[in-house]
Symmetry: C3
Subunit: 209 residues, 3 copies
Amino acid sequence: MSFLYFFDLLGTIVFAISGVILAGKMRMDPFGVFVLATTTAIGGGTVRDAILGATPVFWVIDPTYLYVIIATCIIFMMFVKLISPLNEAVKINKFILPVLDAIGLAVFVGIGVNKALIYGSGALVAIVMGIITGVGGGILRDVLAREIPMILQKEVYATACLAGASIHIVFYNLGFGTNASMLMGMFVTLLIRLTAIAYNLKLPTFTIK
Amino acid sequence: MSFLYFFDLLGTIVFAISGVILAGKMRMDPFGVFVLATTTAIGGGTVRDAILGATPVFWVIDPTYLYVIIATCIIFMMFVKLISPLNEAVKINKFILPVLDAIGLAVFVGIGVNKALIYGSGALVAIVMGIITGVGGGILRDVLAREIPMILQKEVYATACLAGASIHIVFYNLGFGTNASMLMGMFVTLLIRLTAIAYNLKLPTFTIK
Amino acid sequence: MSFLYFFDLLGTIVFAISGVILAGKMRMDPFGVFVLATTTAIGGGTVRDAILGATPVFWVIDPTYLYVIIATCIIFMMFVKLISPLNEAVKINKFILPVLDAIGLAVFVGIGVNKALIYGSGALVAIVMGIITGVGGGILRDVLAREIPMILQKEVYATACLAGASIHIVFYNLGFGTNASMLMGMFVTLLIRLTAIAYNLKLPTFTIK
């Protein structure tokens, strides 16, 4: 298993967990939980593939993603009673999950940019594909839960995707290899998100009265 | 006209009606009614086809679905004044519609599984395609109407899809014919939904505070 | 640059601005603004292309649309402080924007119908594709902003699309050229929208209690 595939599945798990948690807050039944977890974990990549015409989409070709999501849901629902007191102790919600989410985001953006480049897209389209892959699932999750997608408002989220995807493209066009460029991009996305989380950074909002 | 096509159009009509009713509750104009009815009736299959790469999607190839939806909207809007007192008398909303919806759901799940198998999908992907076909339109309807999709919360809805799609696959892999397997799956989805409606069954919800 | 392409980019700009304004009202950060503007401006055409199987979708093939959207966002955010007092003076919100929106709508509907005809669709499917292209972006915008899509409720919006697309098809089938038919359709959509704006026309709503 390549390092990229490993991180891709890790990102899938983390995003699925964020769907499970929101489903739990909305008191969904177990299969509502699966629907929300699946949408969050593979929604962005699905939209990307449909736009690129890379169909059937990635998880139809490799259902490993679905198995990973199902296992994540089952394990999480089984152990949530253990997690709750653990959460009190170590602040999973406030600390571990955002960090895992940042890792998942960085990986998804890198994979999205990479796939667009493979399909022959230019720089700007590849950046947009990276952003769609990174934030698409979370946006769909929030829309289903009838929340305004926090990604559109929250501290430096789309910005981190944009910066990472841009660095990815710059290094790629400078002639660095596919993996090296992707790693650089992922590193930048991750670094910006972690910094934003650590210092609670926000961009100035654009406001019209 | 094959029996499958007949039930497919029946499901289309039923799902369109559920869109019309929600549009009426939201006081939409007549063409808003068409948009919501169409989204509900063909939304799930459209998402399925886009994911499978079965494009142009089914209703572009066979516009009969669109004609059926338009006729349903017009007839329903014309006769709604007759339906209202009828509803008082026989509880269409509480009884007939849920039963028709269960039939539509069962048919759509079966068609979705079947199409995925035709496109060479494995068991898990085919089950997911069945669920997407069955619940996709209703989820889009509820999102447009700014409601939390009841499918994610309601009694044994996605569960019925999952069970029916799984039975469909099991019989198919046991060597039963395409139609026989599909009928078995549809029967199971329908039976579970009708039982859930009759006894107001609910799964225990998964709750995180 | 053909006249059609010019109006297509004009429609893109107008729809992007409507996304920027809503983002400003929701106090999004600058990259949330880009996401909402982009979704509004190219969402309808993207859904159309995914349904038709015209992938990769139009803006992947011609990223000019993305550059135009980015420029629109930057310019609008830079000059919004100039626009606010201007707005007080000349009622941009109440007058200029709806008129531009009507132009964008008319163009998008015409382009959607045209593309469906190029892909060999029949009359009804082409009309539906025109409507999807015209209203899809605005519906996605409103869903992201957690509003009930006003398009489904508002004065004669989808109706204008339907009428324009139908006229487009009628002239096309009568043997008029592609551009002439499209212009007629666009003119009708525009005329109906402008009339509805000027006289605040509404269709009777369809209401179920």
